[in-house]
């Protein structure tokens, strides 16, 4: 029984090499397989649900899909974001940050909120947190070019003012 084990490994390695060779010869029919069958967010969330996602938004609701990072509460989130911008413009950074943190509790995967918080930190002179918030936003960007470039700008600004 034990003697079978090394044999299996050897075979596996050979098989893997062979298959890898084949794979590189044969053109890929699907170069970037997109996840399929996600009821809430087709082609976005990377995890296929084991069954239809019962906890996700019922169909017909005009909401960004969860997982994309869109706010679950667009109106509330927008209002808090507006409030944060007013506070920030007045130089009240702690109050501005509080408002964004409150919005993040409603929509933690919204990269715009993390960027906003990062920009508040930058204005307040906390460059380290500005950069970290931008990095967090990047992990939630899901290919959104606008978010990515805003995050990169923030990272550069945080580094430049150092």
């Amino acid at each position: 029984m034990v003697s079978q084990r090394p044999l299996r490994l050897v075979t596996l390695t050979a098989l893997a090499a062979l298959a890898a060779g084949c794979a590189s010869l044969a053109p890929e029919s699907a170069p970037s397989p997109q996840p399929r069958g996600d009821a809430g967010a087709p082609g976005r969330a990377a995890l296929p649900p084991p069954a239809p996602e019962a906890e996700q938004a019922p169909p017909g609701r005009a909401e960004p899909p969860p997982g994309r990072g869109g706010p679950a509460a667009p109106a509330a989130s927008a209002q808090l974001l507006q409030q944060a911008r007013t506070e920030r413009a007045a130089g009240r950074y702690a109050a501005a940050a509080s408002a964004v943190e409150r919005a993040l509790r409603l929509a933690p995967n919204d990269p715009e909120l993390w960027l906003e918080l990062g920009e508040i930190h930058l204005a307040d002179g906390n460059r380290r947190q500005a950069e970290m918030m931008a990095r967090k936003a990047l992990t939630l960007a899901a290919g959104d070019g606008a978010v990515e470039s805003r995050a990169q700008r923030l990272i550069r600004a945080a580094a430049a003012s150092r």
Partner: protein, 742 residues
């Protein structure tokens, strides 16, 4: 003679000074009050009408069709209307207002104010969860003069001190009458202390019944009356007088007594409730409404009669109030001694910034992160989960911690099976072997090294490791089987020890310890190979810190129980802002978390997954220590990280694994929390591919055992020949071979 007189004057001066300095000083001797996070109501929030009503009940709101006063609500089908109380939240003002909350499809569909205008967001006043009082000491919740119902003042005068407005601190007529009654009856049946004398007695905590004490008391009362006006004395009395005992905590003042007995502010009390509090003045132990409900009821109704006799209320009002039940909240209704485990955490966090006497005396307000609904769910899950284990659960203890991953805010802490017991807090202090909870750390180090992907094949075969002292360590699998070549995803999902040890040794103990430190363990573990199987001992809180970093995509946030501290004047003293630190490679954590989802679908978390609502995606890991002494589960969705531990305080074997013990309590907790499942946004450079769970080769979605996993482009696994459905095909033979677990 002169000397005696001088001594008397001197002593009198001393007494007057004592009384007035106590009066001045007492105003500030207030333990910090800790409030839960306020419930946020916003359009789109997943919530059922029943959840809202449950929260309103916790806050002491009462059903009232007219919504006449703050703290009332009414339910009409799928709409809940309420009159909120309003409050100041760390510098932000939430106005008291009428809200109409309309529900549809399990969410808040609309939020409107009294004028019918749409609101995007509003919040309820936060629940008072407790105070940071000294180990054995007084606790109070100061009420301002305008928060005191005039009827309470009237009742106190009518029942305790009819000539309060006119006497000079002592009431000679009452004294004479009482003396006559006591003399003729031959026993002490009637007291004649004025409210001022009662106040003095409360300051000096003496209950001896002697003429000498009475004399001192009377003198001090006269001194206070000479110095302060009646309103000041009355207000001091209302905040000072002893009204209830709660274990080691003495409940003083009508503000806290109102919360303690009725769970709502003093200003919202009904007539019958007010009368019950006034009844307590004469003897909080003797008339304790929880222990002696009949006595308390009789005394309350006597107070009502005296109020009617004094013309404060009509006969109809008296009769109606006398029919009312006592109406006190149940002991386990979130009011008495519960939340002690969470308050413990609050105290420890604040101890870094404030000395104990500041917390215990200066009337601070602490806005904490506790979610009362989550706390209630976690307490219920632990108690019922241990009960459900039957004989296997007898004598076992447990702990639960719930956090919000993105912010590290702690939502709930349960320190033991009986959450109202304020003793050993296992969630914070039980340091136990974590077993396989370490494996995600090992595999994260492996993924970060770039040497492994989830599709890599590793050997789950026996291994002998010579230790520094010459002994040989030969770990084995949980089931004493070996599985041969297995994929990394399977090794983690099924918690295979031999494969994990081999992976860990290849990336190095140093790298694993380093990863553990970055994830949030503040001390360095000893670098023994047994670290790879979780021989280190951690508290549930430390485990929560480490897994919170995983749940937060590799960003570490210090776990936090406090949002802000405000002083007695409402000024914000300190905020605890959200600050994050990237602690691990985001792609590696993202990849690891996909494997933790497979733990739930195919591995040791399957049983827990089956207890979750259908379709809820979660990521998690079981842990079992040597000899079945500790049963662990740590896992998360987008909104919640839950860590559970089950074991015996004396560290005896429990016979439970992570799957059979802690995982079930974990699932019970998570199932009642709701919220979206784990669904991270996809990372563009790391597309997910269909991988065969057993062989690691690329396969197709329709193939059996195909799992969708992120695998880096440069670690592209080999493609399978077809699917292997064809039973006689080569692929099928390979698959059978790989699945041969012996």
């Amino acid at each position: 003679m002169l000397a005696v007189l001088a001594a008397a004057v001197g002593y009198g001066g001393f007494l007057a000074w004592s009384a007035t300095s106590e009066f001045e000083g007492r105003r500030w001797d207030i333990p910090a009050k800790v409030y839960a996070a306020p419930m946020e109501l916003y359009v789109g929030r997943p919530l059922e009408p029943d959840d809202l009503v449950a929260e309103l009940r916790r806050l002491g709101f009462r059903a009232d069709r007219t919504l006449a006063a703050p703290g009332t609500f009414r339910v009409r089908g799928s709409t809940v209307e309420l009159a909120t109380r309003g409050f100041d939240y760390a510098g932000e003002t939430e106005p008291p207002r009428r809200l109409t909350v309309t529900f549809a499809d399990g969410r808040i569909a609309r939020l409107a104010d009294a004028a019918g205008g749409d609101l995007a967001i509003a919040r309820l006043d936060p629940l008072l969860i407790g105070s940071l009082f000294p180990a054995h000491g007084e606790d109070r919740l100061i009420v301002a003069p305008d928060e005191v119902p005039p009827l309470l003042i009237g009742a106190l005068k009518a029942v305790e001190d009819r000539r309060f407005d006119t006497h000079m601190g002592i009431d000679l007529r009452a004294v004479l009458r009482a003396a006559w009654v006591n003399l003729t009856s031959g026993e002490i049946r009637q007291g004649a202390s004025t409210l001022t004398q009662q106040l003095v007695r409360s300051y000096f905590l003496s209950n001896e019944r002697s003429w000498w004490r009475k004399l001192r008391e009377a003198f001090m009362a006269l001194a206070l009356e000479a110095r302060y006006d009646k309103d000041e004395l009355l207000h001091a009395y209302i905040n000072e007088i002893y009204l209830a005992q709660d274990g080691g905590r003495a409940v003083h003042g009508f503000g806290l007594a109102s919360q303690f007995y009725f769970g709502k502010p003093l200003s919202e009390l009904e007539l019958s409730e007010l009368a019950l509090l006034v009844a307590q003045v004469r003897g909080p132990t003797f008339y304790d409404p929880r222990r002696h409900p009949d006595r308390a009821l009789d005394r309350r109704n006597l107070v009502l009669e005296q109020m009617a006799a004094a013309g404060l209320i009509t006969e109809e009002q008296r009769a109606e109030a006398a029919e009312a039940p006592l109406g006190i909240v149940a002991e386990r209704d979130g009011r008495r001694s519960t939340h002690s485990a969470f308050l413990d955490l609050v105290r420890r966090q604040l101890a870094n910034d404030y000395p104990a006497d500041v917390l215990e005396r200066e009337g601070l307000v602490v806005w904490s992160t506790l979610d009362p609904a989550v706390q209630a769910a976690a307490e219920r899950a632990l108690t019922e989960g241990l009960d459900a284990l039957g004989d296997a659960g007898a004598g076992l203890e447990g702990a639960v911690i719930v956090t919000t991953p993105h912010s590290g805010e702690v939502r709930a802490v349960v320190g033991g099976r009986d959450p109202s017991f304020a003793g050993f807090n296992r969630a914070l202090d039980a340091r136990r072997q974590i077993g396989s909870l370490i494996k995600p750390v090992v595999y994260l180090a492996a993924l970060e090294s770039g040497k492994f992907s989830l599709a890599s094949v590793v050997d789950d075969a026996p291994i002998d490791i010579e230790l520094e002292d010459g002994r040989v360590w030969s770990p084995s699998n949980f089931d004493d089987q070996t599985h041969g070549p297995v994929t990394v995803v399977r090794a983690l999902a099924e918690s295979l020890n031999l494969a994990s040890v081999r992976v860990g040794l290849e990336v190095g103990l140093e790298a694993v310890a380093n990863t553990l430190g970055r994830l949030g363990l503040p001390r360095r573990p000893p670098l023994y190979p047994s670290l790879l199987l979780g021989s280190i001992e951690l508290t549930p809180l430390e485990v929560a810190q480490i897994y919170n970093t995983l749940a937060n995509g590799g960003f570490r946030v210090p776990l936090n129980a406090v949002r802000a501290v405000v002083d007695a004047q409402g000024e914000v003293l300190k905020r605890y802002p959200l600050e994050i630190e990237q602690a691990a490679d985001a792609d590696a954590v993202y990849t690891l978390n996909h494997a933790l989802v497979q733990v739930m679908r195919r591995g040791t978390g399957r049983g827990a997954q089956a207890l979750l609502p259908a379709g809820l995606t979660a990521a998690g890991k079981t842990g079992t220590s040597d000899g079945y002494r500790d049963s662990w589960f740590a896992g998360f969705t987008n909104g919640h990280l839950v860590v559970t531990w089950v074991g015996a305080d004396d560290n005896r074997p429990t016979g439970l694994t992570g799957s059979t013990g802690a995982a079930r309590i974990w699932a019970r907790t998570l199932a009642s929390l709701g919220g979206p499942g784990y669904s991270p946004p996809e990372i563009e450079d790391l597309p997910s591919r269909w991988i065969d769970y057993y062989t690691g080769v690329r396969t197709r979605e329709r193939c059996p055992d195909a799992v969708l996993l992120p695998v880096p482009n440069d670690a592209r696994p080999p493609r399978a020949f077809g699917c292997g459905d064809d039973a006689s095909g080569f692929g099928a033979r390979m698959r059978r071979w790989f699945r041969n677990d012996r």
